[in-house]
Amino acid sequence: MSTPGAAGVTDLRTYNPLVKVLGPIPVMVYVVLTRDVLTPAVVALVVFAAIALLGRVRPRVLAAIALGAPVLCLVMTFSFGMLTDPALVDDTTLLAAVGPVELWSGALETGLATALRTVALMLIVLLGGLTTTGADLVRAMTQQLRVPYRIGYAALAALRFVPRFGHELEVIRGAHRVRGVAPGRGPAVAVRRQAGYVVPLLAGGIRHAERVSLAMDARGFGAYPQRTDRLRIPFRVRDVVLLVSFWAGGAACVAVAATLA
C-alpha cells in the first residue's frame, strides 16, 4: 500500500519497498552459505511469524504458506536425498535399498538441510513479495534510487499493455481463422497454430508501443529533468528501523541456532 501517513506501524505494507526487497539480501546470502539444519529452520520460523503478524496477508494465503512450507520441505528432503552421492554418506545408516537406489540417513539429512534452506529463502522472498507490488517498487526506485523517471514511467505504462495483448490475440486469432492458417485438429496442429500467433502478437505490441510513444512525446513527456508524482513513496525513520531489525533478526537467528546446536 502506498497511502502516505497510514498509521499502522505493525503493517509491513506501509514500509518502503526498497527496504523490504533489498534489505534482507545479506541474510539470504548467509542462509545460502549455511550447511546445517538448525539455522535455516530458525530463520524460516521467525520469518513465517513475521509474515503472520506484520504481513496483513489474507488468511487463505497464510494457510497455504503454513501448509505448503512443510510439504515442500518433506518433498525436497526426499528428492534431494535421492540425488545425494551415496559415497559421501556411506558411514551413516542405510535406511532402504530398492534395486540400484539406496537411501542413507546421511543423504536424508543433506536433503533436509537443502529443503530448509530453500524454504527459508522462499519465506524471506514472500515477506517482501506479498507486501510489495511491482509498481510501488518502481516508484521507490525513481524517487529514492534516482532511476530516471522516464524509465520508471515506461515500466508503469507497460502494465497497461497486458490487457491490450489479450485483445490483440483475439484479433489475430480471428484473422488467422478467416485466412485458414494451420487448419485442422489434433495437438500438433494446435501447437503450430499457437506458434503462429507469437510474431504477429509481438509485432502488434511493439507497433502499439510506438503509437503510445508518439502520444507521450506530443504531451511533452520527459521535457523536464524532474517531475511530480501522484503517489509518493516515503522513506521514514521506521524504514531504517526495519532495515536494522532485518539484520539484527538474522544475527539473532544465527545465535539461537548456535546455542541450540
Binding site: P17, K20, V21, L22, V32, R35, L72, V75, M76, S79, F80, L83, T84, D85, L88, T110, A113, T114, A115, R117, T118, V125, L126, G128, G129, L130, T131, T132, T133, G134, A135, L137, V138, P148, R150, I151, A154, A155, L156, A157, A158, L159, F161, V162, F165, V198, V199, L201, L202, G205, I206, R207, H208, A209, E210, V212, S213, L214, M216, G222
Partner: protein, 194 residues
C-alpha cells in the same frame, strides 16, 4: 538520458510486457517444480533469457536488455514473489548486457549472444551450486542437470534471435536499430536512425 528516445523506451517496454506475461505462470510453477523435480525445472530456466536476447537483437541499442527485463519484472510481479521478480529478471538482463558492454557494443553477431548465454548459465549453475548443495550430488545427476540448464539457455537464445529476425523482416522497429554491425536484422534496418 537525453539521447534515449521515447520510442526506444516504449519498444523495450512492449517486449518486456510480453516476456512478463510469459513469466507470471513460470513464477508460480518454478518454485514447487524446482523442489519436487529439479530435473524438470532445469529446462525451464531459459524462459528468462528470451526477452533480453530478442530486445538486444531487434533494437541493437545499449541498455535494451536491462530495460526489457526491468519491465518484464514489473509486469510479472503479479505473482506471490511480488516485487522480487524485478530482481530476478534484472539479473538475466544485466548478465546478457555485460557481454555487449565488454565488446563496447560493436559486436552484434549471434556468437556473442550464445557466448553470453553460456557464461550466464555457468554463473547461474554456480549460484545454484551453493543453494542446492550440488557438490554432494551424484556425478551423473550433476552432469545432466548442468547440461539441461545450459541447453535451455542456448535454446532460449536461439528462439530470441529467431523471433528478432522474423520481427525485423516484418519491418517492426525499423529505423530504431543502430545501423552499424553485421548480424542479420540490420539488413532491413534503415540508416537514418538517430
Amino acid at each position: 538520458m537525453k539521447s534515449v528516445t521515447t520510442r526506444y523506451l516504449m519498444t523495450c517496454a512492449a517486449i518486456g510486457a510480453a516476456m512478463g506475461v510469459l513469466l507470471i505462470p513460470a513464477n508460480f510453477v518454478s518454485a514447487p517444480l524446482a523442489a519436487a523435480a529439479p530435473m524438470a525445472y532445469a529446462p525451464m530456466v531459459g524462459l528468462w533469457l528470451i526477452g533480453p536476447v530478442l530486445a538486444l537483437a531487434l533494437i541493437r541499442r545499449p541498455g535494451a536488455a536491462v530495460l526489457t527485463t526491468f519491465v518484464a519484472g514489473v509486469v510479472s510481479s503479479a505473482s506471490p514473489v511480488g516485487a522480487w521478480s524485478i530482481v530476478t529478471c534484472l539479473m538475466a538482463g544485466v548478465a546478457l548486457e555485460l557481454a555487449f558492454v565488454v565488446t563496447l557494443y560493436r559486436v552484434w553477431r549471434p556468437w556473442l549472444y550464445y557466448a553470453a548465454a553460456v557464461v550466464f548459465g555457468g554463473l547461474y549453475v554456480a549460484s545454484g551450486w551453493a543453494a542446492f548443495n550440488m557438490g554432494s550430488m551424484m556425478t551423473g545427476v550433476l552432469v545432466t542437470f548442468v547440461a539441461l540448464m545450459i541447453g535451455s539457455f542456448v535454446a532460449a537464445t536461439w528462439l530470441g534471435l529467431f523471433l528478432a529476425q522474423r520481427l525485423a523482416k516484418a519491418g517492426v522497429a525499423r529505423g530504431l536499430a543502430a545501423p552499424r554491425g553485421s548480424a542479420e536484422p540490420a539488413q532491413v534496418a534503415h540508416t537514418d536512425a538517430r
